[in-house]
Amino acid sequence: MAGANPELERLAKQDYKYGFVTDIEEDRAPPGLTEDVVRLISSKKKEPEWLLEYRLKAFRRFREMLEDENAHPEWAKVVYPAIDYDAIVYYSAPKQQIKIDSLDDLDPELRATYDKLGISLLEQKRLNGIAVDAVFDSVSVATTFKAELETKGIIFCSFSEAVQKHPDLVRKYLGSVVPYSDNFFACLNAAVFSDGSFAYIPKGVRCPMELSTYFRINAAGTGQFERTLLVADDDSYVSYLEGCTAPQRDENQLHAAVVELVALDRAEIKYSTVQNWYPGNAEGVGGIYNFVTKRGACRGFRSKISWTQVETGSAITWKYPSCLLIGNESVGEFYSVAMTNNRQQADTGTKMIHIGRDTKSTIISKGISAGRGDQSYRGLVRIGPKATNARNYSQCDSLLMGDRCGAHTFPYLEARNPTATIEHEATTSKISDEQLFFCRQRGMNEEDAISMIVNGFCKEVLRELPMEFAVEAQNLLAVSLEGAVG
């Protein structure tokens, strides 16, 4: 763990704004992925037998996948050294007993960490009206606003708590959108997931506030395996915010999360992410591997799921928030800004699987590449044989800065119904010297000008974000582009 001086030094250098490590004693499993570790995780969490069985099934499948090279997702256009899955610590938790009545009872060092991150729970409570389920390392330590949500029958808690208090709901929906065997990283997650968030919005309820979770990797050498499950029952609405920051370090960290969304009849889920994991230094050393499986099932008639993501962090981003449009007239949306600077790599996009009739999907993807960043948009639009009158509109725009970065578009279009309408537009552009000079002649410095032009480029996506997130995202884009010019 870093002492005060290196920490100060790092902060002074301002390479990565959130680069620090908190000194808290940990309770951790030995490195390596064994059946014993899976059992340890499950017993630490006092999980019911069925959940342990679920984890063990996933664990066995994952061991098979490890042996089977075809099971590794090598189709993605990203390059990284082989991960030693037996060197990873799969469980760690702050030692402190987490039974708090008020925020004042929290470990002061933990509080200080939140302050550095700008997550003052009290402040958020008072100013923003946002319920925050803060994930610190692998265990949720504080959940606020719960009582207010409870009066409406809304359940919003850590995943572990949901397993204890609402086992039937968890059991009904866990793995129903992303099966444990879905893909390599989802399978790993299913075996060892640490904690995450659970939300259930009952019939006819419009969630009165944005539900928000802040994630943070903390223990050195620990992968984090978040599990999120959101269920919106008939005629309900929820907007969910997810934001990440991570401390600076030199070894790569694996983050393999799974997010499952279920929208029933006429329900709507809006899921927004601002992802700012540590991207590695300018030479590409360190940084998070962000291998995430996010999928939503529009099960109900006229249900709607909308993904909005702003991805500026991580050394490698591998992520395809998708929608299964099962219910007739259901709607899927994907709005994405992905930025790669220095040596960052991103292979991201979406899958829109049209199954029901009159289903509609929209894809707006904005990729920004600077430095030696490399990114790909990879998107699948599949219209099934029963999806009569399905419609898709896709727009993929890339903005390049400098001449050493890359942008690629891989659209996969499969229509098995002759009534389908699919539109795909793609553009690639550069910030021109003329635009930059025009801004400078009006008094703006180059970085402000670039930030303004980039935010303009991303406008169609940023306007989908809730207000407070949109501001944060704009700042993040500006910070992530520092040093991209010149």
Partner: protein, 272 residues
């Protein structure tokens, strides 16, 4: 040279790539004056304006430019802008996705910050914007549209003048602002420029044609040819050029041996 010139250009030589374009420009503008620079295509008019605002791609090989006594050529382009040097572009660029009002407010606040003034908040800015928009007869919906995107030629030029009105610069350069304008747009643009004429401000109006100068009447007219000022005079010089074309000056200039900058300025005053 007088001590209180707002801008002094002395023996300015500049190259674009490997090609010498400006070959010894001497020019002095005092506060309150409007100077016109005329000249045939390729005479160096746009290069002069680009060099004054510090556009990359040009190299000053000799000479100096002082603005309010400071070395202008030492300053970064954005510092020149904040100090009060403004160029109305011949071809204003489009910036997709960035609303005109956001762009204008960013520019205004960048300049205000440099002057040690408080940022204008959205409401104060809007009232300032409305007031200035009236002067260039700009419809309000142009503020919510992206910068210059889908604007007609006339709208783009009006937008340039609007920026000039908002930024309140001490030295304005108008680079062929009349090009591509119909007579109504020309009148509106000229009206905006005339509103800016003040005893505290100097303007350099670069134009190929005399037509603009009927609306913006200059105090002095200079003819640029081969990267030098070959003739200077009053506003009547523009009329003479309109009548006779540039040939009678530039041919005469070409026939003369190269002159020192000092001789050049003598010749220029002799020409009026």
């Amino acid at each position: 040279m007088s001590e209180n010139a707002l801008i002094e250009i002395r023996n300015l030589h500049a190259m674009a790539g490997d090609t010498p374009i400006l070959n010894g420009i001497d020019l002095e503008l005092h506060a309150g004056e409007v100077h016109a620079i005329m000249g045939p295509n390729g005479s160096g008019k746009s290069t002069l304006s680009n060099v004054l605002v510090g556009k990359p791609g040009y190299e000053v090989t000799e000479g100096e430019v002082r603005f309010r006594g400071q070395d202008l050529l030492e300053m970064d382009p954005e510092i020149r802008a904040r100090e009060g040097v403004f160029l109305a572009f011949q071809y204003p660029v489009e910036i997709p996705g960035v609303s005109n009002s956001h762009f204008l407010r960013s520019a205004v606040n960048a300049v205000r910050e440099h002057r040690g003034e408080e940022d204008l908040d959205a409401i104060d800015f809007l009232s300032l914007l409305r007031e200035k928009m009236k002067l260039v007869e700009m419809p309000e919906d142009m503020m919510s549209r992206a910068v210059n995107e889908g604007f007609s030629g006339g709208e783009k030029k009006r937008n340039e003048i609007l920026q000039m009105l908002l930024l309140d610069p001490g030295f304005c350069i108008l680079d062929e602002t009349d090009s591509g304008l119909d007579i109504d747009a020309l009148r509106i643009v000229a009206n905006g420029v005339n509103q800016m004429r003040s005893p505290d401000r100097a303007m350099l109006v670069i134009t190929h044609y005399q037509r603009l100068l009927e609306y913006i009447v200059p105090d002095h007219v200079h003819v640029l040819s081969g990267g030098r000022i070959v003739r200077s005079g009053g506003k009547d010089l523009a009329l003479e050029l309109e009548e006779k074309g540039y040939g009678w000056i530039t041919d005469a200039d070409a026939a003369q041996p190269p002159r020192t900058p000092k001789a050049d300025s003598n010749a220029a005053s002799a020409g009026s």
